[in-house]
Amino acid sequence: MPELVIANLFNPPVLFFLLGALAVTVRSDLDLPQPIPRLLSLYLLLAIGFKGGVVLRQSANEQALWALAIASALSAVMPLYMFWLLRRKLDQPNAAALAATYASVSAVTFITASAFLDQIGHGYSGFMVAGLALMEWPAIITGLFLARLGERPSQNAAGMSIAKLLHESLTNGSVLLLLGSLAIGLLAAPRAAETLKPFTEGIFYGALSLFLLDMGMVAARRADVLRRLGLSLVAFAIGLPLVNAAIGLIVARLISLTSGDALLFVVLCASASYIAAPAAMRHAVPEADPAIYVTLALGVTFPLNVTVGIPLYMSAIQSLW
């Protein structure tokens, strides 16, 4: 485990994340103004989707489809237990939004985990990218049901119908780009896939490093909001990913994923969405406060996962597989 933590921490993308956090801490004027971060995140989604599609074409099999179906179902039920827990501290809309956020997934955490596997020379298959896409929205739908639980239909004037929400979450820019790139990777001729490699793979780690530099700054800037939110919510933001990772670990073992795929799956379970789910929640559950669900996902859970979470989950897998 310690050597995995070190291997991860000496991974340049993670170091750049820490550099970004440092920059904010020492009040540097370092800044990546918009739309640079947007460009990098679109690039990362395109690249990971395309790569996943290319690999999926070669390696799709029945077991993978089963795994994806189970991942999807897991994302749909996970909000339930978290909602029940969170209701002790939060009102209904906020508990529902937070549960949805944590049951949904973070693409960049996934990408960092696959970079980690690359660094330690550990294989994994492409189909988990599809999992990334498929675990995004069931949690969102469940979250919306929870937010409306017990509500009279007439009240939700500000809210949205399920059909609208499904549309919203499937047409969310990141989801669409990821799914679209996956499909394009699946369809592309091998020769074409080869010519895209310098773009989708060559500069990938560099772009990830630059993006994580920015994410380090963004996460660190949320620190003062964190103080306002209080310790018990921060404890949730540390505890929930660990519990979710444990759930993911058990499921991965039951469906006999390889250890590389298991890590990616566990990371999906442990990660919290800070793009698609918050975007959907803001539309669909306007009563919930993004200062809570975005700040915890971005300011606590994301840093936790990319720095110590990934190697922790990997060492758990190594001792169980």
């Binding site: 971060p37 700054m217 800037r221 800070y274 918050p278 975007a279 803001r282 993004p290």
Partner: protein, 97 residues
Amino acid sequence: MRPIKRVEIITDSVEMTHVIRVLEQQGVSGYTLIDSVVGRGERGMRRGDDPSGAFQNSYLITTCEPEQIEALVAVIRPILQRRGGICLVTDSWWLRH
């Protein structure tokens, strides 16, 4: 030139599409939008730096006839009440072309 009300609204980017829909229902003749501005208000600092856009503001300028302003204000107010932001109304002259 004729007198006109200059209306400016600063609020959540996600809410702005809603604002625009409401303005168009009121029949405003046009509007101008600056997609992303930084700001501070009751909800603290909003830099537009997070990937979900949850903390991004947009800035909109529009105009309306003096007699229209009451109706406009009536539809804008609930949106700002729910989501925060500000709306300023200023007396101006419009150079009719």
